[in-house]
């Protein structure tokens, strides 16, 4: 068929050109902070909080949550064409707009994660705090630790899902318009959170604990990805077309093919390494090479999360109803 179109806008034709690395980074970091929040809640609560006892990560992981989130927020802010109007996001609530939910959600997530971080400051270290008020606050928050953890956990899950729903809500873009996407993004967010936790955590048992968790997360990621592609392939013509970039293996779609191949290597690799880690007999302190392996697999997992966000943000814009 020969097409001649007079009067096309570069932003939408021949395909969508609206979101770039900034949005991809936002989705990744948003997910990462959410995942980390969930993990730090777990760390502070599981086993009656015994894991958290003199574990530096109990605090440092949680304080990283708002930090990473802020960096992510900077990226999305950079993407807005009318930055001075951001306040309008908070002068209205649009029940059908994921981005509206997200903006409000993040508004709650911030204080909660910070408060929880403060509450998570180990008692023995609190005297180091500069301001008396902070110490008092920390002591006062102590009693609400569990509630904060719960809230922090829930909001983490919420944000994790949101980063997927944000894309999933566009009927016009079949690659994104799949119910599997939010779950996949949540999963990869949690797994990234776990990975980061493993890197931060000081104690061997904590590291191994989250390694176990991550194994399950990676495993489910590895089921969700094929499920996603299968779902697209067996759906409408447009949905089937939408995943083609990943399987064309031609120069035009080189990066997408590469992304898929990397994922095909990374995820199993990470999984295997981790399984070996827990199988392995460790002394009471981890050997340098054991540590190295752990960090390596963690980095690989983070990389996987990054690849998923980038390839989906870009490929989605190639797809059209």
């Amino acid at each position: 068929m020969e097409l001649t179109i007079s009067g096309i806008n570069a932003a939408t034709s021949p395909n969508l050109h609206i979101w770039d690395w900034r949005v991809a980074m936002y989705l990744f970091l948003g997910g990462l902070s959410a995942g980390l929040a969930v993990m730090s809640s777990i760390l502070n609560v599981r086993k009656g909080g015994s894991l958290a006892i003199n574990e530096r990560a109990a605090f440092t992981a949680q304080i990283l949550v708002p930090v990473i989130l802020s960096v992510g927020m900077i990226f999305i802010f950079l993407d807005l064409e009318r930055k001075l109007n951001v306040f309008w996001l908070y002068l209205s609530f649009q029940p059908l707009s994921p981005m509206s939910w997200g903006s409000w959600g993040l508004l709650v997530f911030y204080p909660v994660s910070i408060l929880f971080a403060i509450a998570a400051i180990p008692v023995e270290n609190r005297h180091r705090l500069l301001f008396r008020q902070l110490i008092e606050l920390a002591d006062w928050l102590q009693q609400y630790r569990l509630h904060l953890a719960a809230a922090n956990f829930t909001l983490g899950i919420f944000i994790g899902i949101y980063t997927g729903v944000l894309l999933n809500s566009f009927v016009a873009r079949p690659l994104w318009n799949s119910a599997v996407l939010p779950v996949l993004f949540l999963c990869s967010a949690l797994s990234a959170g776990a990975a980061l936790m493993i890197m931060i955590a000081g104690q061997k048992n904590v590291k191994l604990f989250f390694t176990k968790i991550d194994i399950w997360l990676i495993a489910s990621e590895m089921t969700l990805l094929p499920l996603f592609f299968y779902g697209q392939y067996t759906s409408s013509y447009a949905h089937r077309e939408s995943i083609m970039p990943f399987f064309m293996f031609n120069h035009q779609y080189f990066w997408y093919a590469l992304a898929i191949m990397l994922l095909l290597i990374i995820l199993p690799a990470a999984l295997v390494i981790k399984v070996l880690e827990i199988k392995e007999e460790h002394g009471d302190t981890l050997t340098p090479e054991a540590l190295f392996k752990m960090n390596l697999s963690a980095i690989i997992v983070l990389l996987g999360g990054l690849i998923i966000r980038f390839s989906f943000v870009y490929a989605g814009q190639l797809s059209h109803l």
């Binding site: 007079s6 096309i8 806008n9 109007n85 309008w88």
Partner: protein, 186 residues
């Protein structure tokens, strides 16, 4: 409460682009950006060829994903006449509406940064005029009117001809109808 819409009689279109140029002038659309376009589709092999001429614009959907996806309420469907319009002062330029529109009817005004699109020339409708692209449509292909008024030209033309909307499957309930075939409904 009028329900403004358009019928595009493709038999009449001659790809003259008057609509495209007029729209840009009337609404001062920035250079390189457009609220409406003309699509020329040719299928087949020489000499067995088929041509379809189709002018496209915002469908002012009754089920508008662009509005649903707008986080600020800048994009809205006007209650009195159902036109899908913009409160530019509210727009943050997040581009969700561009991603949401299955018809690629939107753009980000590259001078001002806000999202923009066809307004069905509501400022002209207000003055009792027809939209600029309709007024100048050399082929008389673009027909404007109140879809709820059985006496309006749009209603009559729709009654008398087979018509369809673009991407009906998207469930957006467009208000721009297309007449492609010659035959009348039996």
């Amino acid at each position: 409460m009028p329900k403004y819409g358009m019928v595009i009689d493709q038999r009449r279109c001659v790809a003259c682009m008057a609509c495209v140029v007029a729209c840009k002038k009337e609404n001062d659309v920035p250079h390189g950006q457009f609220r409406t376009r003309v699509v020329e589709e040719v299928e087949g092999e020489f000499p067995a060829l088929r041509m379809e001429l189709r002018s496209e614009l915002c469908n002012h959907c009754d089920n508008p994903p662009c509005v649903y996806n707008c986080p600020t309420g800048a994009s809205y469907k006007r209650s009195e006449d159902g036109l899908v319009l913009l409160k530019k002062y509210r727009c943050v330029g997040c581009k969700s509406c561009l991603a949401a529109c299955p018809y690629d009817a939107r753009y980000i005004n590259h001078e001002k940064g806000f999202a923009d699109k066809c307004t069905l020339c509501e400022h002209r409708i207000k003055e009792g005029k027809s939209p600029a692209c309709v007024a100048t449509c050399v082929g008389g292909s673009r027909i404007f009117g109140d879809l709820d008024d059985p006496e309006s030209l749009v209603s009559i033309v729709l009654r008398e001809n087979h018509s369809h909307v673009l991407l009906e499957g998207a469930g957006t309930k467009p208000r721009i109808y297309y007449i492609k075939m010659y035959s009348k409904p039996e």
